[in-house]
């Protein structure tokens, strides 16, 4: 498969090209190099931009479809940038039994997005994970890396409001 012609992409700047070329040169002969390179890209950007994947396909001479098969198979990889504030609902057994489903529904309702999505203004990203190891705090949420325990749906609006206020103050300054 010849991946010679790339679509005209504005995002495809000098930096992206350099990054990809460096990564490919570094991992060139290693087994399982595709995954390692994708990790590097994600570590740099927080997600794997399409422009990077398109360039990678050309540099490694592999079909873009193969790259996306890998990207979408592993839960770890993201295809869109996360929001400024990341909200994770724990869906482990304990949290599930203690009503994590209701927390998720409330968050989805309040934010107008579904699990795994980011709000249009990129302020919030919502996702679920299996178990964060804080079963004693069930049902647990992780809001911007801070774990909050024993939540009910009623706790959701104040949590979101607090973040919005912070952002507003930030903007005003």
């Amino acid at each position: 498969m010849e991946a010679a012609t790339l679509p005209p992409l504005e995002e495809m700047d000098e930096t992206t090209r350099d990054e990809i070329e460096t990564s490919v040169a570094k991992w060139k002969d290693a087994e399982g190099n595709l995954i390692m390179i994708l990790h590097e890209i994600q570590n740099r950007h927080g997600y794997v931009p399409r422009a990077s994947s398109l360039l990678l396909a050309r540099e490694m001479n592999i079909p873009l479809a193969r790259i996306y098969e890998v990207l979408t198979f592993y839960h770890y990889f993201r295809l869109v940038p996360q929001g400024d504030h990341n909200i994770t609902v724990c869906n482990g057994t304990a949290c599930y039994l203690k009503g994590s489903g209701r927390l998720l529904s409330e968050l989805e309702k309040q934010l107008g997005i579904k699990d795994g999505e980011t709000t249009e203004d990129r302020m919030f990203h919502l996702e679920t994970v299996r178990c964060i190891g804080c079963c004693g705090m069930a049902p647990a949420l992780v809001v911007d890396k801070k774990t909050i325990g024993k939540n009910s749906p009623m706790d959701i609006p104040p949590i979101l409001e607090k973040i919005r206020q912070q952002e507003k103050t930030h903007e005003d300054q």
């Binding site: 010849e2 010679a4 479809a65 979408t72």
Partner: protein
């Protein structure tokens, strides 16, 4: 090495490595499957082909398990049937209950299995994905909800066609066959060959059905409906009516088309002869007179054209500029035909019946597809749609009398007819090129150019023409093409003589007879029979050279002038352009 074992008590000896599924066929045992296709590697996805091996309690899948010496296989018993039915129920629980409005209604492998297993009610609640359909190409419709994740389409797209438009994205219940990054098929590397639809066991990928458009045109008093029918359709259509592959139904097809209401019946095979005149002239100009680059590469197949434009655009100058037979016929149907008959040109409507889903795309490929000032061809129906239309029409197809095509654009040679087979364009072109170079026809014993025939993926031959030797290569199934093109490119980059002078490529395995719009159930056995159908007819014909077709001579004499020049150039030739593999 061979192994001997028993299947349902019947002794069977097969070469080592033969799957239990294949071995069972040899003793007339059919094990049900949904994912395994004879063209493809087993994916072990569906789980219907489980068997008992006589040792242990496991039930391995017959498609992906090799028969071993001394095995005592049981393929069918009450327990296996129960497990298979449960598996089928699980598959159905992710499938919409919408057979009556499905493009595969009455011709669906999943529906067949459900029928055979006597499933009469939903034992499990149905959980069906609500992803929207993808109809972006105008050739194919992807309905994700009907996908059973067998993997055939992905494998055929990636491994057989080397296109990589489809991939398996995500995992588990969210798995879907889609282009990288969930863009639409039209934005992907898809070349619309339709092999995905020809291999899909369900209605998840079907052709864009345009029969309603044709019915509408037929009842429009402002339109004079004309039609053309491709060589390969005539030897495959019968399958939709229960006849064996390869049955040539030309006469009945003409007859059916008249009864459907078409005012003029043309044959694409006539235009295949015309393509040969132009293409052979082009070849002679490049090969003998040195005008233009070699190898000359055929361009009748729109899926192949799209593939080259996307993946090997630096080789565009090697392409024959001759339009495909479909487009040549369309151009003449809207210029020459009204001129000869006095019919109003702006009312002529041209329907094309093709083995191919990419032909739907070809209509709008470039502006040159409107060389008559209007679309040269208005709508394309695949063989499958045409079969449906005949069934809707109430015509008792198999009992129709044989009729003839209209004269003007209906007469054809055997050379034009074999265009439908891989190697056929090459053979037809060589028959005429030989005459153009030497001034004589090939001797009767030399007319069949057998080295370019058959289902081998890449065929090469050296054909003596006068005192030179023409090196030719033929490839079908696009995964076979890359290697040829890389050799061509390398020779060119190093200023070496080209490895071949003339290359024929058809996207689909077997050529047009194995096209993505042909009746379902294609495999090599079927392809072989369809090919034979065309070869047998060619063999029996008195007219076997395109350049001797009297209607071809007449159209040049009365209308086109000389090949490659003037009106012939204007109406019968096209151009190519690099296109991005991904539009997004």
């Amino acid at each position: 090495m061979s192994v001997t074992a028993t299947i349902n008590g019947l002794e069977v000896t097969v070469p080592e490595g033969t799957s239990i599924l294949e071995a069972a066929r040899q003793v007339q045992v059919r094990i049900p499957t949904l994912c395994k296709h004879q063209d493809l590697f087993p994916s072990s996805a569906c789980g219907l082909c489980i068997v008992k091996t006589g040792t242990g309690k496991k039930m391995p899948r017959a498609c992906a398990t090799a028969l071993e010496e001394g095995m005592d296989i049981t393929t069918h018993d009450a327990e296996l049937t129960e497990v298979r039915r449960a598996t089928l129920e699980l598959i159905l629980s992710n499938h919409p209950n919408a057979c009556q409005t499905c493009g595969r209604n009455g011709d669906c492998e999943l529906q067949d299995r459900a029928g055979e297993f006597g499933i009469r009610q939903d034992y499990l609640p149905r959980r069906v994905t609500d992803l929207p359909c993808d109809d972006s190409t105008g050739s194919l419709i992807l309905d994700f909800s009907k996908c059973i994740k067998c993997g055939r389409c992905v494998q055929v797209c990636q491994e057989v066609q080397n296109v990589w438009a489809l991939s398996f994205l995500d995992r588990g219940i969210n798995t879907r066959m889609a282009p990288a990054g969930d863009i639409t098929l039209a934005e992907s590397p898809c070349i619309r060959c339709g092999q995905c639809s020809a291999h899909c066991p369900t209605g998840a990928i079907v052709e864009n059905d345009e029969t309603a458009t044709v019915w509408e045109a037929l009842r429009d008093p402002g339109k004079i409906c004309t039609v053309q029918i491709a060589p390969s359709v005539r030897v495959a259509l019968g399958e939709a009516f229960g006849l064996p592959p390869g049955t040539n139904l030309t006469g009945k097809i003409y007859s059916a088309l008249r009864r459907l209401g078409f005012k003029a019946i043309f044959d694409t095979t006539f235009a295949a002869d015309l393509t040969i005149i132009e293409e052979a002239s082009e070849f002679v100009a490049r090969f003998v007179e040195g005008k233009g680059e070699l190898p000359l590469i055929t361009s009748c197949c729109p899926a192949w054209v799209d593939y080259l434009e996307k993946n090997f655009s630096d080789l565009i100058p090697l392409f024959s500029t001759a339009k495909s037979p479909q487009q040549m016929l369309g151009a003449l149907a809207k210029t020459y035909y009204p001129e000869k008959t006095g019919l109003p040109a702006d009312q002529i409507y041209q329907v094309s019946i093709m083995p191919c889903t990419a032909k739907k795309y070809e209509l709008e490929r470039t502006e040159e597809m409107q060389s008559s000032g209007r679309p040269d061809v208005d709508v394309v129906l695949t063989t499958r749609e045409f079969a449906r239309m005949i069934k809707q029409s109430g015509v008792d197809f198999l009992n129709l009398p044989d009729e003839k095509a209209d004269s003007l654009l209906g007469e054809y040679s055997g050379a034009g007819l074999i265009f439908g087979n891989t190697g056929g364009v090459m053979e037809a072109a060589l028959r005429t090129a030989f005459n153009k170079v030497t001034g004589e026809n090939l001797p009767p014993e030399g007319i069949n150019i057998t080295p370019v025939r058959g289902l081998e993926g890449i065929k090469t031959a050296t054909i003596p023409v006068a005192d030179t030797k023409v090196r030719v290569a033929v490839a079908h199934g696009l995964a076979n093409v890359e290697n040829l093109l890389l050799q061509v490119r390398e020779a060119r980059d190093q200023n070496k003589p080209p490895p071949w002078h003339f290359i024929e490529v058809m996207a689909c395995p077997g050529g047009c007879i194995g096209g993505g719009g042909q009746p379902y159930g294609v495999c090599n056995e079927v392809r072989q029979k369809r090919m034979q159908g065309l070869l047998d007819t060619d063999e029996k014909m008195a007219l076997r050279f395109s350049h001797e077709n009297p209607e071809i001579l007449q159209v040049y004499d009365e209308f086109l002038g000389e090949p490659l020049t003037g009106k012939a150039h204007e109406l019968l030739h096209t151009s190519y352009q690099p296109r991005p593999i991904y539009q997004k």
